[in-house]
Structures are given as C-alpha cells and as structure tokens.
Point group: C2
Chain length 101, copies 2
C-alpha cells in the first residue's frame, strides 16, 4: 500500500479536537475524558473494532475516565488519509459516548 | 476503605512476571505481547470487565500487539492486596490469551 503523507498543520484545520504530536514523530493526538471507566472503555472498544477492520491501529493509553490517542501511519512515516479516517470515526464515537473533552 | 500498603519487593516474589515501577510512585508493572491486536484487545477487554467489577482500574497503554500495565492503589498511595488480586487475574487472562511475554 502506498499512503500519501499529509501536511499535519493543514490536516488539523479540519480536525479541531486534535493537535500535532509534540514528540519527534509526525503524528496527531487527542486527549479524551468520559463520565467514568465504563464509558471510556466502551469508547475504546468501538474504536478497537473499527481499527482492526481498517487494519490501522492507534497508540493509546487509558487511566480510568481518560484516554490518550495518537495516530500515525508507520508505513508512510507520517500522517495519511487513514489517520484522518480513523480520527473522524474517533470524534463521532467520542460524541456518541458523551465525551466531556 | 482502608487498604494496607504492601512491601513491593516482597510482593513481587509471588508475581514473577511483574516488576517494580521505575518512576516515583510505588507501583508494579508488566509488559505483555500477544499474537496480534485482536488478542491484545481481547485480553484488555477481559481485564476491563474484572477491573470495573473490582472498582480497581489499571493504568495501561496499547500499541498493536503490546500492552503495558501499571497497578497501584491511589487511596493507599502504594501497592495493596487489590493490586495483587488484579495482577493475578491479569496473569491468568494473559496465559489464556496466549501471551508471548
């Protein structure tokens, strides 16, 4: 598969909940907070199902009601349309699950 | 609830897959690797159900087939029997799910 690298700053104009990763890799990240662990892990489960279907997986962590998500495309060494597609799904799932932030 | 803090080094003698957290908190951690994302997230789902039932939640992260788990008891500012109980469940679930490490 050949994925085209996107410009991160340009891409983030259409993803207001996301920010550029502040590490040394081209990636985008979003911090989410839910009502409780049940909501947070329910959100993660929805994203996991979609991610595995896309064969494009997030790097993420969870502490109780909080989830940190980082998206990048390793094959392209940057951010691609696959990250944007998954980011948009994450935004919809977060809204559905009543994400507080 | 009053949880008694356990000595981490003593506790880890009975949890060989776990190590002391190398940060500034009294905690124990385990790194796990599975066959693929499906196995890793299946493991996480089993642990999530148990954790929410216990009302005692891990701090954890996942990148594809790898899961990092940290256990500590915030109320006690250290490691307690609740962490040991969850760690033992995690070890059994990891074995069931064919954890490679």
């Amino acid at each position: 598969m050949t994925d085209t690298r996107l410009d991160v700053a340009e891409t983030l104009k259409t993803l207001p909940a996301w920010r550029p990763h502040d590490g040394d890799r081209a990636a985008i990240s979003r911090s989410l907070k839910f009502a409780d662990f049940n909501a947070a892990f329910g959100f993660m489960t929805r994203v996991a199902l979609m991610a595995d279907k896309m064969d494009h997986h997030p790097e993420w962590s969870n502490v109780y009601d909080r989830v940190e998500v980082l998206l990048t495309t390793h094959d392209a060494d940057g951010v691609t349309d696959r990250d944007v597609t998954l980011a948009r799904f994450i935004d919809r799932a977060a809204a559905d699950m009543g994400a507080i932030s």
